[in-house]
Symmetry: C2
Subunit: 144 residues, 2 copies
């Protein structure tokens, strides 16, 4: 069994949060939405059926934790999350990953889907640091 290696495509569009029990967690650098990406730290998994039943239960727990963290980021930013949007595609990047992001009727795309529509917005550096810190605190991940 080979070791987990993160697809480099994630590194240019998200910042490392840390490792949960199953998943590597990253914060998507798109200022439109508080957005976490979960990547199970297993080699060669692409679909849910590639995970063991135990890992699927763990993944579900981590989706819930990511949802709480996305809500915490929204609170820290003064834009509370009204609705979670969760997606798993992998059409471009096959390595299994899930998107968990927070939506609000005041966001620019509401109520349209968040994927593949409109343009990514850059965070101001201080705003990104604040969001990442809030996400890590909620997920119980160290700050460094």
């Amino acid at each position: 069994m080979s070791a987990f290696v993160l697809n480099p495509a994630f590194e240019s569009t998200s910042e490392r949060l840390g490792d949960l029990t199953l998943s590597h967690a990253r914060f998507k650098t798109d200022g439109r939405f508080p957005w976490i990406i979960l990547i199970p730290r297993l080699s060669g998994v692409e679909e849910l059926e590639d995970l063991s039943a135990e890992d699927r239960v763990q993944l579900m727990d981590e989706i819930l934790a990511a949802g709480r963290a996305v809500r915490a980021v929204g609170e820290a930013q003064g834009r509370p999350v009204a609705r979670l949007n969760i997606g798993m595609m992998g059409n471009k990047t096959p390595q299994m990953h899930l998107h968990v992001l927070g939506r609000s009727p005041s966001d620019a795309l509401w109520p349209r889907p968040p994927w593949g529509i409109g343009e990514t917005t850059a965070y101001a550096p201080g705003d990104l640091a604040l969001a990442v810190a809030a996400a890590r605190t909620s997920l119980g991940l160290p700050s460094a």
Copy 2:
């Protein structure tokens, strides 16, 4: 506790497949992709955190079953599924529901996301009946 009532928004865009242990299953009438919608048959649930831990495990099982059914539909249609796309939004229709659909490099939108992009394509009536029958067979649901 009030009874489950299906949001009528689903009725105009999908066809009833039947009831699984947790979810009402529907087949989306969009000829671009084999596409199943799962709606947990519970009143007042909108987010994963509104489900009990047991129901979340059951939902995960039904997502896997829907994925197998989507693959079976793709086989029946002669367009094998290369990748499952799974999504849960509810920005427009808050009643909790999940999309499970099959993608292929030969589909019109590949590799773009399937939600909110492009136009729904109508099925020819015979093609829809074939797809619904294949989905029901895979899910172990009766044909009527």
